[in-house]
Symmetry: C2
Subunit: 154 residues, 2 copies
């Protein structure tokens, strides 16, 4: 503490803030730090982490609706709607009404969106190797299974 020299906080990596802290707390911090890294990497492309995820999904599932994307990302339709709105404003995606279902708006990448996504993927996926640094394949498998189980609601 800067203001109370009698209660010195441990540095990250020490005490309960380190590997013996609460697992939920560690998970939160790790995801937070990783998200900050991704956003720093993408900031000059004018993309946020959430926008990048949406573009990746849109590339994999073209002509998806907002509700489709929300389901894929485990987000609410309202949240996805604001992300899409920002991508629309930036001209990275476009919408057109569904040919049959009058209410549905299909969303697609624009050429500019594809270009931006391509540049972003090269950078972000470069972080992936850093995430694996120092891990054996067995360890990687353990971690992957644990994370996937959590994400699937286990």
């Amino acid at each position: 503490m800067r203001n109370s020299p009698d209660a010195v906080p441990p540095a990250p990596g020490e005490g309960r803030r380190g590997a013996d802290g609460h697992l939920g707390y560690l998970l939160r911090q790790a995801a937070h730090v990783h998200r900050l890294r991704v956003e720093a990497l993408l900031s000059d492309l004018g993309l946020t982490s959430a926008q990048f995820s949406a573009l990746v999904m849109l590339e994999a599932y073209p002509a998806a609706s907002g509700a489709d994307l929300a389901r894929l990302a485990l987000l609410t339709p309202q949240t996805m709607s604001t992300i899409i709105a920002n991508l629309l404003k930036a001209g990275l995606v476009a919408r057109r009404p569904h040919a049959v279902h009058g209410r549905i708006q299909q969303i697609a990448l624009t050429p500019e969106g594809e270009a931006r996504l391509s540049a972003a993927k090269a950078r972000v996926y470069g972080l992936e190797s850093g995430l694996l640094a120092g891990l054996s394949t067995d360890e990687e498998t353990i971690i992957r299974r644990w994370l996937a189980g959590l994400a699937a609601g286990a």
Copy 2:
């Protein structure tokens, strides 16, 4: 997809959304799902995940300043400031000026804040065991080390 039967998305846990997806993506989803669980658990106490974290730190480091708490949580002072503002509004913490340093505001739990925190901790730490379900101690150590390394900026 509900609107395009020709492009069926995998369920969570299948395909690239499962354990063979991108590690950064898995990390994000896992932390997201866990945060939702914590907030569902705490909603009737009127606490968010961020507020709970702040209260835990305040209990461990009494009379910390907003800047201190921000450092502990790896958040910006501005972010911590809004969290504190909401805790103040709810009467769970109180502030008083530092005895020597005129600018610093020291923050402390109120009795109501302590009571609320105590109830919340019992619930949240109960989730911890679920996070460990099916893991050997070796596996747990691997996961802990990986998360802590990431959070520490490795």
